[in-house]
């Protein structure tokens, strides 16, 4: 079984990022969208955490572009059709509302 977790809140000063990673399953994947993409700011704690975890990481391309961020090579930038496909590839989607 695998779950696609979706985060959209900034990882700075919000507990969703840490909580999500704490209960993350070994076959799960993570999609960062909205302000959650700020986790891609290099040199920050969330960035280092993601780098170290080596989990399946996706980022919504439009949000990366809007925020002048770069998707590192260990994160895949996706569009909406790919988001739809991703939601199908995993058994369920867990959006951290």
């Amino acid at each position: 079984m695998s779950t696609l977790h979706v985060l959209s809140h900034s990882p700075f000063g919000d507990s969703r990022f840490a909580s999500c990673l704490r209960i993350f399953g070994e076959h799960d994947a993570l999609l960062l969208c909205g302000d959650a993409t700020y986790a891609l700011r290099p040199g920050t704690a969330p960035f280092e955490t993601l780098l170290g975890r080596g989990l399946k990481l996706f980022v919504l391309a439009e949000d990366v572009q809007a925020r002048a961020l770069q998707a590192p090579d260990w994160a895949k930038a996706i569009d909406y059709p790919a988001f739809v496909e991703l939601s199908i590839e995993h058994d369920k989607v867990n959006t951290w509302l």
């Binding site: 809140h9 909205g34 989607v93 951290w96």
Partner: protein, 140 residues
């Protein structure tokens, strides 16, 4: 024309929206919904809950140079004849009423019109049972 899904099969989606029209997640929900249909999939129901009920508000006034998400949702639901349901309990406590409820509670203005229907959480559960995937949008 709709693209063929890479997975090859038609999936049924239930899409639930929990954030108001101005939230970025509400726009993402619409774009996801559009991509799902373009990918050849079905949307069994759109369910607006919590602040999501505000997306059904016909009274929202948007400046001309900004995205009018309530109008885009209405157009999307009408064009594709989708089932767009707004949770009645969440709507009432947020002042989002249709004519019937406005009359019932003697409020001066109704702000929910077709294609939206006010109904209960049973519709959310029904959609979850029917769909292959439940996708929620909301928060930020």
């Amino acid at each position: 024309m709709a693209a063929v899904s890479l997975t090859g099969s038609v999936m049924k989606f239930a899409i639930a929206l929990f954030s108001a029209a101005h939230a970025p997640s509400s726009r993402r929900a619409l774009l996801f919904a559009q991509a799902a249909l373009a990918g050849g999939h079905e949307i069994v129901r759109l369910f607006f809950y919590q602040d999501g009920v505000y997306n059904a508000g016909a009274s929202i006034v948007t400046p001309q140079d900004e995205q009018d998400l309530p109008r885009e949702w209405r157009t999307f639901v009408s064009d594709h004849q989708l089932d767009g349901v707004v949770c009645i309990a969440a709507a009432l406590r947020r002042g989002v009423l249709n004519d019937e409820e406005a009359q019932r509670y003697q409020r001066s203005a109704a702000s929910v019109e077709a294609p939206w229907a006010l109904s209960g959480l049973g519709q959310l559960h029904d959609a979850i049972q029917d769909a292959d995937r439940l996708i929620c949008f909301g928060g930020a």
